[in-house]
Amino acid sequence: MSAKFKWVLTEDAFAGLLAWLDADAQTAARKYEHVRCALIRFFETRRCFAPDSLADEVIDRVARRLAEGAEVWASDPYFYFQGVAMRVHQEELRRRRPVEMPFVAAEDAENARRRLECMERCLETLPDRTREMMVNYCTVDKSGKRQQRETMAARLGMSVNSLRIRVHRVREHLERCVTTCLK
């Protein structure tokens, strides 16, 4: 019986992958981050058990193909990643079923209280203008949501979409902060 060794992403293979994404190192790094986020989103939408690990598996496979000298035919590198992701997903489906979440288990009162305290503390650590933006953004009522967001975006000198993306980035920051606080 032949032993199977798992291929590990080496520094050279990673550098090769980045060079394939773009000749400019900074642009390549940005593209790499984008591909990884897109892959996580891809597996999350399919309710896979560990989207991060599967995204890394796809990246490793592409890097390995490149390191082995295979010619990769794709009009755009992104589409090649998407193709590999579909194959990895098929294999994952054969291994285990998608995650089933029939209901949201309510968080117990003590945890919810601690989470709220942490969130309040984390909000306090934001710069004043950012905190004010979050409070205004989160307290709009449903009926006037569109109008209020347009007004807010205009006041901040950005489009509504840019405002939503900015709020998303702050939320990511807050979630990391609360997660650290809860540990």
Binding site: R41, M101, T125, G157, R169, H173
Partner: protein, 257 residues
Amino acid sequence: MTLPDDSLITRYLLGELPPDEQNELERRYFAETTLLDRIDAAEDELIDDYVRGGLTAEQRKHFETRFLTPQRVERVRMAEALRRATRPRRNVWMVPLAASLFLALLATVLWPALRAPRRDETPVVEHRPARTTPVVPPPVVNENAPPPPPPAMQIATLVLSPGLTRSDSEVPVLALDSSIDAVRLEAMLQSEASLCDVTLQRIDGPIVWSANGVRVRRAGGEPRLVLTIPRDRFRRGQHLLTVTATDLVADYSFEVR
């Protein structure tokens, strides 16, 4: 190319798109950063609507059976905490506080009037000896001698890049000893903004330094922030530098030893 509208993205997130439309949307977000950002933002909106009871019965069912995963349950809980932390509160202490302020204001306005001498009263003039300040002779300065050189400031520099690592194990290290007076942090940015707000805190601790409206430097390549921070703001352990701009919120963590 125009971006898909919000309802299409919401249907994608809720697993309501037919396979060909799903593949098409995925093909696009693999290639377009902006679209992926839009989907992230739409996911926030969807979770907020769920938390606030703003979904239809069918959307709610799809949210719970097709959208939720253990990671997303955590995001729902975060959204609920954010909603509670930002909602306006009825402050029961506001009434007594307002009453106290009103009384204080009233006293400030009325007190001089009550204390003002009546016309028939003779004002009392106090005679006090004038205070004298001892005169200290100025130090003798030899104008021909060169001024003493200022002591050289010792500055430690740390360059922080947006992470490319898969784990938190490769955190940059800033080694400080007692000879260091200040720390120069250079944070590489992926931002088009010209000004940023910055906070520095110890992990799970209070903010120890902050600055608003810091100018982004663009000369010589990538945009970056250059910050000079006094040494006494740092302690041993993990620190987090947070940079916010109109198009960015970035965290840079590093270890001080």
